[in-house]
């Protein structure tokens, strides 16, 4: 069981399709970066207050969005994976809907619900709480758009956990919570991490829902994507330079995230 043989042929086919995909994604991104470097001033972008302010805002809001997605999404995913209840597949599908909506429409939906005249926004407004057009709205927009990716991955992960191990845990006196924490979650970890990574990436790249629901105010709701698309208005190449900042940040962030997760998986 320790080391299986693999035919070179199969490996080649695998490598070929992986290579096509890598090229398909890598060449455009590479071309973009190349153009940004040649035509734009990437160094200046790295230092410009527009980019750095948006960068920090993006980092902070996406981190919060992922945290909320994990905290709320994990139980939801577990419920969907483990408990049959009437309407489960409706709920399951409802959770996927934000992915289908063009983000601007999603932002509109949030605005309709959380705006001053909305079902939720109305009462909140009466209580003096503003949601739309605040930094909080950025987080909500990101959450709305990105949480389905986490839930779907987590659900698949939970479904893959051997239920016998959970049963054994119970016979060893572990409460449901302890079993969940010590057996279910660690075993579903690759999927949970994968989902969180996708969720974070999606939140980081979110544009349409944010500009619609949170607005585009420098320092308050202007995240990296908004900064990039605002910059495009005046100069594509300046925008590309900011985009490179985002790409570098995301690349580093993803690498670190995955390395930490691997480490965590090992330590756990």
């Amino acid at each position: 069981m320790r080391r299986a043989q693999s035919l070179t042929w199969n490996r080649l086919a695998l490598a070929a399709s992986a290579a096509i995909l890598v090229a398909f994604i890598g060449i455009p991104v590479g071309a973009l970066i190349a153009r940004g470097f040649i035509e734009g001033d990437v160094l200046a972008a790295f230092r410009s207050p527009v980019a750095t302010t948006a960068l920090w805002l993006s980092l902070a809001t996406s981190a919060i969005a992922v945290a909320v997605a994990v905290v709320l999404g994990t139980p939801a995913a577990y419920l969907l994976a483990r408990h049959a209840f009437p309407g489960r597949s409706i709920v399951d599908t409802l959770i996927d809907l934000p992915v289908v909506l063009p983000p601007v429409v999603g932002g509109l939906a949030l605005l309709v619900a959380f705006g001053r005249h909305g079902v939720i926004g109305g009462p909140l407004d009466a209580a003096g709480v503003d949601v739309a057009f605040t930094t909080g709205a950025v987080v909500l927009a990101q959450l709305f758009v990105a949480v389905p990716f986490y839930i779907r991955a987590a659900r698949a992960g939970f479904e893959g956990v051997d239920r016998r191990l959970e049963a054994v845990s119970a016979t060893l006196g572990a409460s449901g919570w302890r079993t969940f924490r010590r057996v279910t979650v660690p075993l579903a970890l690759p999927s949970l991490i994968g989902g969180a990574v996708m969720c974070w990436a999606r939140a980081l790249g979110e544009f349409g829902a944010t500009i619609m629901f949170a607005g585009n105010v420098f320092g308050r709701t202007q995240t990296m994507p908004l900064a990039i698309l605002e910059a495009i208005e005046t100069d594509v190449d300046a925008a590309l330079a900011i985009a490179i900042v985002l790409i570098v940040l995301a690349f580093a962030g993803l690498l670190v995230f995955k390395a930490l997760a691997r480490l965590g998986g090992r330590v756990l």
């Binding site: 605005l111 926004g121 739309a132 057009f133 585009n216 208005e233 594509v236």
Partner: protein, 237 residues
Amino acid sequence: HDDEITVYAAVSLRDAFTEIAREFEETRSNTRVVLNFAGSQVLRAQIERGAPADVVATADDVQARQLEAAGLLAASPRTFVENALVLAVPADNPAGIAHLTDLAAPDVRVVMGIADVPVGRYARAALERYAAVNGRDGFVGAVLDNVVSFETNARLVAAKLELGVVDAGFVYRTDVLASDGALVEIALPPQAAIAAPYPIAVTKRGAGREAASAFVDFVHSPVGQRMLASHGFRPAG
């Protein structure tokens, strides 16, 4: 700052309004201007749903008028500046466009806005006016057949031109100016010249604020107009 006003403005005004706001704050030390830039349609949708805008400046008087009709403005919008529709080509002009009529030549890739956005509306109007005046039936259809994409805003048109992936497109003069030489303007025949008015107004929310109307006044002031002019806008005519 004890006084903060929020200005919702069309994205094409970004650089000009950023400068104007800085200057405005300079003159009124206790006032801060928060700027929010988005497409005119997004601005309208946001204000309709209670966005905290005190002043709104759109790139399209249709949106402004609809806001007024919805009772969301404190006063009628006033045009404070105009932009000019131009025909632009990439700096290297790959299709060798020299005149508006070249757009009808076979295999020219044209981009323009959709009919529902100002830049598209103006482009069509320009073409139609030119065709009507010169009696060229079928000219408009031939150009439209060459369109590879109808964009939802002028910047998407400009971006494609800047990347050199299309041959020609209708944008605003300010776009050409902002492109740092990546775009070249092809002069439109006088028959096709079209001006795009930019209206500005104080919203219901900003009605009670002195700073809001002061900002609008500042935009109209010679200082404001000079700054706008430096970004390619023309005074409202």
